[in-house]
Amino acid sequence: MKNLTAVKAHFFLDCVLLLSWGIMLSTLSKEGPLSAILHPTYKYWSFFCGVILLLLAFLLPLLNNPCILHTSSFPITQRVVIFLPILLALSFRSSEFSRAALLNRGLSTHPNFSMAPHDNCTQLYQDMEGFWNITPLDAWLLSKSETDRAEFSNASVSLIGQIMLPNASSQLRHPIIFRIWVNCCFADATPIGISISEADSYKLESVQELSWVHLKGKIHFHEEPPHVPELRILDLQTITPPTQKYLFR
C-alpha cells in the first residue's frame, strides 16, 4: 500500500516535470534571450518537443495507471536534477561571452587558428553610399578566392560586430571586430574576427571592450598566404546589440 502511494506520488511528480519542461521549451524556444542562442533550424524541434511534453503531461494520467515496476527504480534526486535547468533557463538573461571565454573559443588574429567554414558568402549587397555590407565571416571567405580578393581589395565595406581590444595577457596584437559563428549549437560557437589596422588603433580609444559597433572602412588582404583580411576605419559608431547577435550556419 505504501509502495503504491509512493508510485502515485512519483507519477504525479513526473507529470509536473513534463508540464514544466513542456511550458518552458514551447515558450522560451520561441522568443527571448534563450531563443537567441538556439539554432534557427533546431529551435523548432525544441518547440515541438515542448508541445509533445505538454501533451504527454495531460495524456498520461488519462491513459493509464502508473506502472509500479518502472517508476520505483527512478529516485527523487534525479527528478531534482531535472528540475534545476528550468530555474537556470528562467534566470538566463544575457548570452554574451566574456573576454576570457572568447579567447578560449579561439578568437585570434593569427590566420592558422581562425576557423572559416567552407560555405559560400551570404549574398553581398551595396548600400546607397556604395559600402558593401559584409560580416567578418564573409571577409574570411572572400580572402580564400583570388578573384574575390582582386575584386574586393580596397573596397568600402560596412559591418556590424563586437570589438575586442588587445592586452598583455593574450596573443592579440591588434583590435578585432568579430561576430560569433554557430554551426550546430553553442558548444561549437566560434568567434570569427577581422583585424583592424594597427594605425587605426587610436580611433578605438573611446570604444569599450566587447561593445557593439557599426564600422565603415576599407578592406584589404595581405599579399602573402593565407591572405588575412584587414580593415582601415573610415567611420565608427557604437550601437545597441542587434536582435540577431549570432551568425548561424
Partner: protein, 310 residues
C-alpha cells in the same frame, strides 16, 4: 604576427559563459532524446518481441554487418540511438548486436555522411567520409565481438538489468499496449534527461573553459597530432552531424589527425560517457573506451603512414 606570450591552458570563464552553451546543448539535444524514446516505444508496439530476433536470425553470420548498417535507414544521432538500443535489448536482441548498432548508427546515418562530405570539400571529401564510416564500423564490430565474450552482468548497469527484468515481467503479467509503452518511454526520457543534464554541463565547461587554440596548436605537430585531436574530440563533445564543420577548416592539422577526431567523436565523449552509464556498467564503459581510443589511434597512425603530408 605571433607573440611570445605562451598560450595558456585556459583564460578562465564565468558562470554566464557556461550557462549559454549548457542550455543550448540541452535544449537542442532534448528533442532527439524524446523522439528516440517515443520511436522506441512505437517500435516495441508495432513489432512483436520475436520479430526483430527472427530478422536477425535470418541474417545468420552477417547479423553483425546488418546491425552495423541498420542505422543508415534512420537519421539518428548519438543521443537518440541509446533509447532505441535499450528497447532492442528488451526485445531480445543480443548485447553484441546492440553494441554494434549503438556505436555505428550515428556515423552511417545519412545526416552524418552528408555533413562530413560537405565539410571536407577540397580536402578529399570522398576518402574522408569513406574512411570515417569504415573505421567506425570496424571499431564497432570489434567492440561487438569483444562484448559477445562477456556475461551480461559484466556489461549492463544494475539499473538496465533491472529494467530488462521489469519489462519481461510486464510483458508476462501486465497489459503491453501503447499506453503502457508510452508511460515507459516517458520514464526512460526522464532518466536520460537527468544524465543528459550532467553530460551537457561537463561538455559546456570543457568547451568554454579550455583554450581550443592550444589544442589545435598542439595538433599541428605530426607526432602528437592524432592523440591531441582525439583528446579535443572527447572534451568538446560535439554532435557527429556537425563535428566535421568544426575540424575541417582548421589549417595545419594533418588530415589523419582530423580523421581521428571524426572517428572518435561518434564513439565516445564526455557527454556520451555520462549518458551511456545509464545502460552500461562503468567497468565495461572503461574497457570499451580504451578499445575505442586504441583502435582510433592505431587506424589514424596507419593512415598517417600513407598520407603523412596532408
Amino acid at each position: 604576427m605571433r607573440s611570445d606570450i605562451a598560450t595558456p591552458v585556459s583564460y578562465g570563464f564565468s558562470f554566464q559563459d557556461f550557462l549559454a552553451p549548457f542550455l543550448s546543448i540541452l535544449f537542442q539535444a532534448l528533442p532527439f532524446v524524446l523522439f528516440g524514446c517515443l520511436f522506441a516505444a512505437f517500435l516495441e508496439t508495432i513489432l512483436p518481441v520475436s520479430a526483430i530476433t527472427r530478422l536477425l536470425q535470418k541474417t545468420g553470420k552477417f547479423r553483425y554487418l546488418f546491425c552495423a548498417f541498420a542505422g543508415s535507414l534512420f537519421p539518428l544521432c548519438e543521443c537518440a540511438a541509446l533509447p532505441i538500443v535499450r528497447s532492442l535489448h528488451r526485445n531480445g536482441v543480443s548485447l553484441s548486436c546492440c553494441v554494434i548498432f549503438l556505436f555505428s548508427s550515428p556515423v552511417v546515418s545519412p545526416l552524418c555522411v552528408i555533413s562530413t562530405w560537405a565539410a571536407f570539400q577540397n580536402q578529399n571529401p570522398e576518402a574522408t567520409t569513406f574512411l570515417r564510416v569504415v573505421c567506425v564500423i570496424l571499431i564497432a564490430l570489434c567492440t561487438g565481438i569483444f562484448t559477445s565474450f562477456l556475461k551480461s552482468n559484466d556489461i549492463l548497469s544494475r539499473l538496465s538489468a533491472k529494467d530488462a527484468f521489469a519489462a519481461k515481467l510486464q510483458d508476462q503479467f501486465l497489459a503491453t499496449g501503447f499506453s503502457q509503452r508510452l508511460h515507459h518511454a516517458v520514464e526512460e526520457f526522464l532518466d536520460y534527461t537527468c544524465y543528459l543534464i550532467l553530460g551537457a554541463a561537463l561538455a559546456a565547461i570543457l568547451s568554454t573553459g579550455i583554450n581550443r587554440q592550444l589544442l589545435f596548436e598542439l595538433g599541428m605537430y605530426p607526432s602528437v597530432s592524432v592523440g591531441i585531436m582525439m583528446t579535443a574530440s572527447v572534451m568538446l563533445s560535439l554532435c557527429s552531424s556537425s563535428d566535421a564543420f568544426i575540424i575541417a577548416p582548421i589549417l595545419g592539422i594533418p588530415w589523419a589527425a582530423k580523421l581521428a577526431f571524426l572517428i572518435i567523436s561518434p564513439l565516445i565523449d564526455i557527454k556520451l560517457l555520462v549518458l551511456y552509464s545509464t545502460f552500461f556498467r562503468k567497468t565495461f564503459l572503461m574497457k570499451i573506451s580504451i578499445l575505442f581510443l586504441l583502435g582510433t589511434f592505431l587506424l589514424a597512425q596507419l593512415i598517417l603512414l600513407f598520407y603523412p603530408a596532408k
